[in-house]
Symmetry: D2
Subunit: 334 residues, 4 copies
Amino acid sequence: MGAQASSEQVDEVVARLEEAGASAHVSHGRDATVIGAIGERELLATLPLEGFPGVEQVLPILKPYKLVSRELRRDATVIEARGRRIGDQYFGFIAGPCTVETREQTLETARVVHAEGVTMLRGGVFKPRTSPYAFQGLGAEGLEILAEARELTGLPVVTELMDPRDVEPVVEIADVIQIGARNMQNFNLLSEVGRAPKPVLLKRGPASSIEELLMAAEYVVKEGNTQVILCERGIKTFERSTRYTLDISAIPVLKHETHLPVIVDPSHAAGKRDLVLPLARAAVAAGADGIIVEVHPRPEEALCDGPQQIPAAEFADFAHEIRALASLLGKTIG
Amino acid sequence: MGAQASSEQVDEVVARLEEAGASAHVSHGRDATVIGAIGERELLATLPLEGFPGVEQVLPILKPYKLVSRELRRDATVIEARGRRIGDQYFGFIAGPCTVETREQTLETARVVHAEGVTMLRGGVFKPRTSPYAFQGLGAEGLEILAEARELTGLPVVTELMDPRDVEPVVEIADVIQIGARNMQNFNLLSEVGRAPKPVLLKRGPASSIEELLMAAEYVVKEGNTQVILCERGIKTFERSTRYTLDISAIPVLKHETHLPVIVDPSHAAGKRDLVLPLARAAVAAGADGIIVEVHPRPEEALCDGPQQIPAAEFADFAHEIRALASLLGKTIG
Amino acid sequence: MGAQASSEQVDEVVARLEEAGASAHVSHGRDATVIGAIGERELLATLPLEGFPGVEQVLPILKPYKLVSRELRRDATVIEARGRRIGDQYFGFIAGPCTVETREQTLETARVVHAEGVTMLRGGVFKPRTSPYAFQGLGAEGLEILAEARELTGLPVVTELMDPRDVEPVVEIADVIQIGARNMQNFNLLSEVGRAPKPVLLKRGPASSIEELLMAAEYVVKEGNTQVILCERGIKTFERSTRYTLDISAIPVLKHETHLPVIVDPSHAAGKRDLVLPLARAAVAAGADGIIVEVHPRPEEALCDGPQQIPAAEFADFAHEIRALASLLGKTIG
Amino acid sequence: MGAQASSEQVDEVVARLEEAGASAHVSHGRDATVIGAIGERELLATLPLEGFPGVEQVLPILKPYKLVSRELRRDATVIEARGRRIGDQYFGFIAGPCTVETREQTLETARVVHAEGVTMLRGGVFKPRTSPYAFQGLGAEGLEILAEARELTGLPVVTELMDPRDVEPVVEIADVIQIGARNMQNFNLLSEVGRAPKPVLLKRGPASSIEELLMAAEYVVKEGNTQVILCERGIKTFERSTRYTLDISAIPVLKHETHLPVIVDPSHAAGKRDLVLPLARAAVAAGADGIIVEVHPRPEEALCDGPQQIPAAEFADFAHEIRALASLLGKTIG
């Protein structure tokens, strides 16, 4: 309460807290009166205390998430798809084209990344594009190609879901459903995949805080789907030499806060091929449970994000470095 | 092209540009070779030039939007709903509850704001909330209450659409469809409202650039719906004394770039009631075509955003100041 | 304290607080133990409580500034220089060249802005430039020109001090000493001007929070100089259509937190001439105690910041609009 | 030039470019006229082209720095101080107290870090503190203690210079002069150390772009001192779970742009002890030429930045991990 708050104003806040089933402890200082409230966090979060006269600030002490928190569950969650694992000692190595453009490009890429021991295959068929004039993805047709690539390699496939109306076809084909950065706070979509029988790869929005990412995961887990992989992919800052600023600290912070696995997408953060390897190495060294990278046979012909895709011909060297580092850190890829 | 680029690499880029129907002009400097490309902007934007070997950077000179640009259409677009106008000399004064909580609260607020001469009534029934434990809105039931408030006051109603599966009921009741900040890049939703027969109020995402906002509007207009109102409501920055940082410069920048009307939501930017009036005044002075503010009979009981809602009892003073300033700037409210 | 904190760890923190003369109140919740500490804010701020085992977070409840705070002094501070005032009902209208380039350009600009009723004359002679190859200002020679412009117009002059070794000549000539944005946390320089017998115009750093700005002002006031004018001039954000993002909310926030006058520099925030007028109007409407703008007889020949300087020929219109708005808001310019 | 630019306006820009010794190439498109200018970058950077009528935007194609650029000098610069090296294959491992508090604390820390094979000793005696009420460092007295720690361990010492008036005593004792983040654009200070006979460790400002950091280094090198170490230590963003956001991408970007060595300060970026090791590992993996970390015998008693200092008792484990990773990446510590 501000220095000018009256004792009636203090009493009103206390009364409201007690009415809501919380207990309130009042301490009077010279410059402020502090009311400590103890109760259920979900309940306290919904009380509109800042709207009360005399209230200067409301400082939440407990975190607003619960089901995803490390406090609730000390052991790391391990996500499994077709026998491949992510979490705890298992390092998920996900690679593939940014976008499924053609059957040939997708199968060729799938073969290359499979040969280098990746554990999952990525590929977008519904593409969120900033410009309405850009290629929007193959849609349902692309899902068939992904299924064929899976048959060819045995790798589980990760693909993005953008629209609640596409839940059915995507859930049928995908082994892991990706929620893209721009949809991280599409709450209806989160609830939908919270009821799906497949793991979810949830990307952090470019302007979303770590706390907001955890709240988005809470939306999914609350519906019953506890199989959520979090993914850091860069945030918006003033720095212009990279597309986004990869928030490498998010990895240890998230590993401390939640039991869910945390992976990194260095391709979208960087926006430039030369940065993908150093950022991927940094992610492994910071303790990430996996990485997801984009590979293309001929990036200069890519319909989307060409500059950041690793040429297929250079992928063996890339994979070699990642394996060496993951091994030094005691991780198993497989 | 970088200083080390070979002449073969330069030729490859030129060849690709010409293949795509653009013309290419090469200038050789001591430290770089510059290739100027002239062609259709939609086409150039999709060429993956940054993926070519030897290319150091690609600098777009033309803006990527077209239909929404001031270059295409010099005259300001005026949006009309039930006889109320926004754009050009018409100042849109939109007010109402953050959320439709009950019939009583909504009708009471509607009466108060109507008495002070606002031109549209706002009220959310589908609420995007960071926490899955927070009140999510009344849904379809709330739409009925909004319709009743419209009947009572004659004011057109503005309400948010969050899910493409709710297009039908929202389009039926709403006079203006709001796309919230978190859905600014929900491209499928944008395309849906692009085919709706109602004006769209498109809020800027908290991490979206002005250019991205214009591209989102382009998604709507491309489908045929040219009735789009843009809304600045604060961006995410390092500053913590306000919920978001209201980007007041966005108003003159947008007015220069586009023919669409531009309004400001000072309530969400501020997050604190005391700041709403100074920010609303600043918006008018900066040249905004309108404001949208939240009002509640008893903010301390609000189920959502209590701290930033203007108490109904103080709304007359608020409206008085806005009218005086709009009038000084030559605007008509009505 | 975290959920796992032992009672010994709680006792250690309490002991340390009491040793430092503060009182400590312990509340035990199910998920956390909260220790409320009451004592002198300067003292509490220096205790390294976050370094203690078991401590999860430290949330300061009192603001860390004191001498500049509105709580200490309810009445607005009015700054005076040669009979011109800024603060409370007095609106400071400061204009002049970005940089003193030549005697002619400076005197010509001084004459123009004086004719339009500005209250102070600005002009830089020591220029902080991002590039070592850019014009660095005329130095001491420029101070003489400023003195001549003052003699000509009777206007007090504002000029920047960059180096503690230049305190003497600058204090001798300047009526108001400017501390630039890049030096906002040059603490030795702040202490120096804290001992100077002239008012200080302190610009907010582009990455400095409002709280940090107030702490910088506290450095000045602590040395005895209470004549400090705060200046918002834009912060660094992800938005690229303006050089900086003018934080318009800083004005009402600062007016609430401090008794010091708050002005706005729209020229540096915008970086573009067309934006200066709308941003200046927004500043007045938001409640600023003044503005500081750049004017040049021929901006296309300016040695510094040409794009944002108002052409002298357009200044009469500019001044007219500012006067009308300031008058509507009940401010006196003079 | 904008779509509305007249041919006179185009001619004026061309004339100004040619007058300045640059050559100008004009291309006419349907929606814009593009003028390509080729000339010396220092010269072009100072032309106020954006101030000319009809000019819509100025896009620099060449980088504004020169002496520090990789284009000028392909070979990596190696910095040496008392036989210890940083740059190319040499990894600089710098550790020590945040602040020299007492002789005992400093010597004890020096002994611990020396035993674990660090290559330089850090310790602040002039401390830039946000609050005027916080401990400001021991000043000259602290320099004596650092000299004693050097004698004891043989390690070169790194210490911060804040004020141009302290150049002499600092240059006399320090082996490497640190310029702190808040002084990165204190251009007079940069010029001073540009004339000093000691290497400079230049920290990136929390709101400074990579380009601005390189321009600051250019200020130092331009005066003749080519011995500059760049240091990434976190930038200001909206994320609040860490003090700053460590910009890990800055390492590969800087290594590509400049021949100067690039190190990382994970302690200040994190603000929390638990994050220092994962961030330090990420820095090594991203290709940094060194790290600088803070160590304290009893962090809970530290006068400054206690929460982020590594307890001396845990430093052996920390150093072990860093050595293993540096070795995997082919770096030599010594």
